[in-house]
Every structure is written in C-alpha cells, then in structure tokens.
Subunit: 403 residues, 2 copies
C-alpha cells in the first residue's frame, strides 16, 4: 500500500527553544518508539484546538483543564492507546502520566499537556510511563522532529512533517510541524495529532487567533470517512527565540506561511488516508455562503458511491450529481448546476455538456490527483475541501486492525 | 455472496384488479426480463411518494406531472437504465415510453406512470420499448408478481416481495408488495422502487395519508450508505375489488397491516444491501425528540468505522461511542449515555459497565442480526433505524459495476 504522491517528511528544521525525544515504552506496539516528550523553553506561548466530539478522551479533558491554569512547558504524547472511553480510571492515568513528567522536570503538573492516540476503550498501561519518561528526559534534542513524527504514527504509512522559512525584519523565521492521522478524519479535526512550532515571538491571544485561522482551510477542510475522533489535538508553539516579534505589520506575511504549512500538513494526511489511491479536491463555486458550499462539498466527499467510483477510476458522474442533489441546501435549481472533472466539463446548467466523451472523463479519472468542480450558480462564495477514495484496503485496515 | 437471513419472496398473492407482465427488452442486460407493465382496473386509487433528491430523474418528473392530471391506469417500469441526468432528451424518451403504453391501451398518456432504475447519465434506448410494450400487453396476468419482482432487480441478489391477508367485515383483504434496491439507500427513499397493491377500497386522500404513515417507519428509516437516489418511487394501489371499504372503524387495523408489510419489505432491502453480512438495528432511546433520536441513529449507522467493525464482528464499541459523540445534537451529556449490544450492556452513564467482557461483546457481534441500543438519558422519545455493514463486497460491487 502506498500513500498518494507522498514521500516521507523532508529534512525537518530544528526550532530554537524546542527539544524533543522519542522512546519505546511498549504500550501496544513492539520494537518501535511510541512515546514522545516535547520540552518548550521558558517564555514559549502555546495555542491549541481540540476535537468537538462530545466523548472527548481523558487527555483532551486534561489539556483543557491544564491550559486554563498554567503555561505549558511539556507535551507528553503516546501512540497505541487513545485513553478514550476509559472513565475515571482513564483520567487518573492521564494525570499520573503528567505527574511523571512534572516529577522529572520539577515543574507543576499543570504545565504538562498529555496526548494519546490509538485504540479506544482500553485502559492506559500507566506503569510503563515512569521509566519511559525518564529515558525521554535523558535524550531530549532539538533535532528530533522526524523521530517524533515516526513515533506518533498509528495506521499512517508515512511520517508527516514540513518545515518552512521566511525572512522577517532581516532575520530568518522557521516553522516546523508534524502530524499523524489517516482515518477518522473529518472537519472539526480528526484522529489527528499535530504539533507546530516556530521561533517567532507571538503573544498568546494572537497565537490562538492565528491557529484558528490556519486550521479552518487545512485540518477543518479535510475528510477521509466522515468520522471525527475523540482525541484530535493541534498545538501551536511560539518560542520567540529568533527575537522577531509578530506585529500588525508582519502578521499577514507570517499568517500566510503558517496557513501554507498547515494546509500542506493536512494534505499529507489525506494522501496517506487509510487505503487511499486518489487525492481528491472538491471545489464548490458560486454558492450563496460558506455553509452551503461546504454542505455540498462534504456530501460529495462522503458519498460512498462517489468514493468507490473514484477508487475504480470510473467517470460515473451520475453519482456526483446524485450527491449534489441530496445535499441539504435550500431550493437548489439543478438547471444552474455545472460540473467539471479537472479541465473536462461534464454538465452545463444541469444538462450533459455536448462535447463530453467517456474517453475524456476516463483520462481525468485515471489521474492520482483529481479535482471535482461543482458550480452552483447561486452566489459568489467558493470553497475547497480535500478527501480520498474508498478502497478494499480501507475496509481491510478498519476491519482487521482495531484502531 | 448471500443476503443476510433472507430468502426469495414467498408465494405472492394475486390482487384482484391488478395484472402484471415482465418481458425482456434488452435495455442493458441480456437474457433476463427488464421491463414490467402493471395494469390497474378502472376505479383503482393510487398514492405515491418520490425521492427528495433535487436531481430527480426524468420518469420521476413525469410521474409527478401525470399524477396531477389523471388517475393512473398503467405503470411502465424498466431496469438497466435510470434515465437520470439525461436532460430534455431523457424527458422526451420517458414521454414516448408512456405514449407507447397509451397507444396499446387506447388511453390518455397521462394515465401512464413511468419508472426507471439502473445506470445514471446514459440515454434510454427508446427504440426498444414499442416491441417490448406490445409483448407485455400480450401476457398481462394477475399472478405475475414474482416475475415482476425479478425483472426490476439491479444489484439485488434476491427478489423481494411480501403478501399479507386480514379479515375485515367478514371478507378477506389482501396486500401484496414488491421492491428493489440494495445500495444508495437512505432516509427519504432510496434507489428504491416499490409497488404495493391491495383489494381494499380506499379513497385517494386517505390512501396517500396511509402511504406516508407507512413509509415513515419503513423505507424512510433504512440506510445502506447514506446515498439517496434520483429515482426512488413508491406506489400504493387500492383496487377496491374486495368490496370492503376502509373507513374510520377499520382504518387502524388496515394501517397496522400495511405498516407491517412495508417494514418487512424495507428490511429485505437492508438484508440484501450491497455486500451486507449483518442486519443491524440501531435503537436510540430517551431522546428529547424524534429529530435528535434520528440524528444519533444515522450518525452511528453511516459511520464507516462502525460499519467496518460490524463487518469484522469486532466489538469495538469505542467507534460507536465516537459516532454518538460527534452527532449534531445540542449539549450531549456523555455521563448520561448508556450502550448495549443486544442484551449485553457496554456502557452505563458514560462509564464502562463493570461486568462487561470482551467475550460477551464478541458473542453479540458474531450474530448476523445485531441490535445496537443507545440510551441518551435526555427525554422519552425512541426510534429505530435499520442498516448493514461495510464489507469488501460493497466496495467491489460499487467499484466494478456501474450502477
């Protein structure tokens, strides 16, 4: 199985003020790292967004609590077990996990944020943490981003990470981000853990605003299977070590770079979606507003019939049309809807485009990167979301592996 | 591939006043019947409901038009081609198809209702209809319900039909229904054609009310994959040939029988869902209202992760919990949610039920008929919907067959 046009993360650049380590605690997997420790220099600001799933996991509950009480200094992350659906025992385990980090660092427990990903509904083997945490402290390093990206993988086939640099006020600013997640991905986060850090100096309020903006057209615009997870967490850290402060003047430039990096990271998740063989952009244009544009886009992106046609490289556009027609938008006039696959027009104002041929449609569908464009003829809002296809391997991965 | 605990329709009982025939027109399939003609005796009343998909097919548009102008005397149904997404040419083809029936019957075109199911986006081979319609008139028979059920199949593996009888006013009343559809099934109809007839006498207004009521907890409460079709149509005919009139006194008795028959028919569609290996009842209790009960039930029923776990017979209840948690209901208190698989309780007020074991969950999941019960602890409304699992064969059928 291969991700769609996706290679392992390139060289990831260190961020001054951030140290990481990845160690093997044997939580579920043997012979691989499964615990990551992240240490932030004093003065680092942190912003975060979390799953909106009502059944959020124990670590998510504790992250919210700790963030309200203290400035984070450490992140402790494990793969193999999500510590979700585990009740009070799960909360206690996540607290102990933080305490173990706090004991080593001699900081307060509230300065530690816990994250877990893996199987839901099993208790975390908490006894494995103290020795793992101790080893993790012993090997903290500012050049361990790729190792961390590998250690947080579950059904991912490729480690995901991106670095970007820009010059601001004559100095070089770096952003590096890693992420994991390949199923259960949907708007409003995913089985998704993502950690992004920069050496720019950004106050906490501004950092949170910038994170929310960057999330909207990246992690909140991707979907594999419509399922959102109990554990989704996205953290943005700004160490300030470059000495360059983000202010009204340079904010837009920095935001654009952050958006680009987060969109890149989020697309890697879709390209490595469970069983994916296609990377699909659903582009909806001429909607009245963003809500209806997204409703149409997600109805198409979640349609199992559209997704299996994509897997089969079958230009069965009737399935796309049927999905548009059943989306929950008011008074859709089908005589104003036009449809394209890539550059090939299929439908013009609700009618088959006369020049369309099956061969043209087939040529578009044979590609690995496919763009479905749906023009609604209602207004002037457009949106893009990203998804992939539904393959035998999606079923195989989710039927055979308890994730 | 086998449908889940489903055999071919039993002996279907004739309805006095209804004649049917099934013939081979070679529309798409070779060596099988693919056109059905239904003739209703004069005085028969007819009620119908159709897809709410904005892209409804040409025959659905014409059914609506014809029903507004005349009392139906004939139904003409074809499989192999849906005549959807076919523009003005498709409308013309469906009109011609009706005209061909009208010419043979010497009735007005508006007394004929057309129905199509099969591939979307290809033009109907209209030249094949006149000879097929002529043959169909030659072999009309009141005992051809099973042949009709077979002729309307597409990806169905089993012909679907049910008959029921009841004694009213000292006379026997019969209801017989047939249906087709196995994918693209979702609330508010499906790729679903269903034809139900009775020899009771029922005025048109009452008949429409009774059909709408019976549809709600049958065809509007099933889902295979969340996709609704462009062609869904459900017709209820009452010939009155028994001489027994449905009135205020016996209406409830008759309605109950109709509900039962339609629920049975709709369950057969789910049992024969594309690639289905499980028949799953999602039972939501203690909701505030029907809308939120259905929102939770459908979120669980449409979750690909829940559906693949069902296919794997894996009691991975974390996926059910995650789906409940992401359903769009307001202020869900997870500490009031309880969960059962069959008789086995998994979760009590948001916490794992202490007596639950993996073995108990496995025993429930090994069954072919599975009940997932979700108790919300919010109100006193409950609802049931029916679905099936997501298997390799679902992907295979939809990736390899252009339906």
């Amino acid at each position: 199985m291969m991700a769609v046009n996706l290679n392992q993360a390139d060289k990831l650049l260190a961020i001054e003020g951030i140290k990481l380590s990845a160690v093997a605690a044997g939580i579920r997997y043997a012979g691989r790292n499964d615990v990551v420790l992240v240490e932030m220099a004093k003065g680092t600001t942190t912003a975060a967004v979390f799953t909106r799933n009502a059944f959020c996991a124990a670590p998510v509950q504790i992250c919210r609590e700790h963030l309200s009480k203290a400035s984070p200094r450490y992140l402790i992350i494990n793969s193999g077990n999500a510590n979700a659906g585990t009740g009070k025992q799960g909360l206690d385990a996540a607290y102990q996990c933080c305490q173990s980090v706090a004991d080593n660092a001699e900081c307060e427990r509230e300065a530690v944020l816990p994250f877990s990903t893996g199987v839901i509904g099993e208790q975390l083997p908490i006894e494995k943490f103290p020795p793992a945490v101790e080893s993790a402290f012993a090997c903290l390093d500012n050049d361990a981003w790729l190792a961390a990206a590998q250690a947080i993988m579950t059904t991912d086939t490729v480690a995901k990470g991106v670095s970007k640099q820009i010059s601001l006020s004559g100095k070089t600013i770096t952003i590096t981000g890693i992420a994991k997640g390949s199923g259960m991905i949907k708007p409003n986060m995913a089985t998704l853990l993502a950690y992004v850090a920069t050496d720019a100096k950004i106050d906490q309020t501004q950092l949170q605003e910038m994170l929310v903006e960057a999330t909207e057209d990246s992690f909140n615009s991707i979907t594999v299977d419509g399922d959102t997870s109990t554990n989704d967490s996205l953290v943005l850290m700004a160490t300030g070590a470059s000495g360059v402060e983000i202010n009204a003047e340079n904010r837009q430039t920095f935001q654009a770079l952050l958006n680009e990096l987060m969109q890149d990271l989020s697309h890697r998740i879709i390209r490595d979606g469970e069983g994916a063989t296609k990377f699909v952009t659903v582009h909806v244009t001429q909607a009245n507003d963003r809500d209806e544009a997204r409703e149409v886009a997600y109805t198409v992106a979640h349609s199992p019939l559209v997704k299996t046609a994509l897997f089969a490289s079958d230009p069965n556009w009737g399935r796309i049309l049927a999905a548009v027609g059943r989306s929950q938008i008011k008074q859709l006039d089908v005589n104003k809807v036009s449809l394209w696959l890539g550059e090939t027009q299929l439908l013009e104002n609700g009618m088959p485009e006369p020049s369309y041929t099956e061969e043209k449609g087939q040529a578009e569908m044979n590609k690995q990167d496919i763009v479905i464009k749906i023009q609604l003829g209602r207004g002037n809002v457009d949106t893009k979301i990203w998804t992939n296809d539904l393959s035998y391997d999606y079923v195989k991965i989710n039927a055979e592996y308890r994730s």
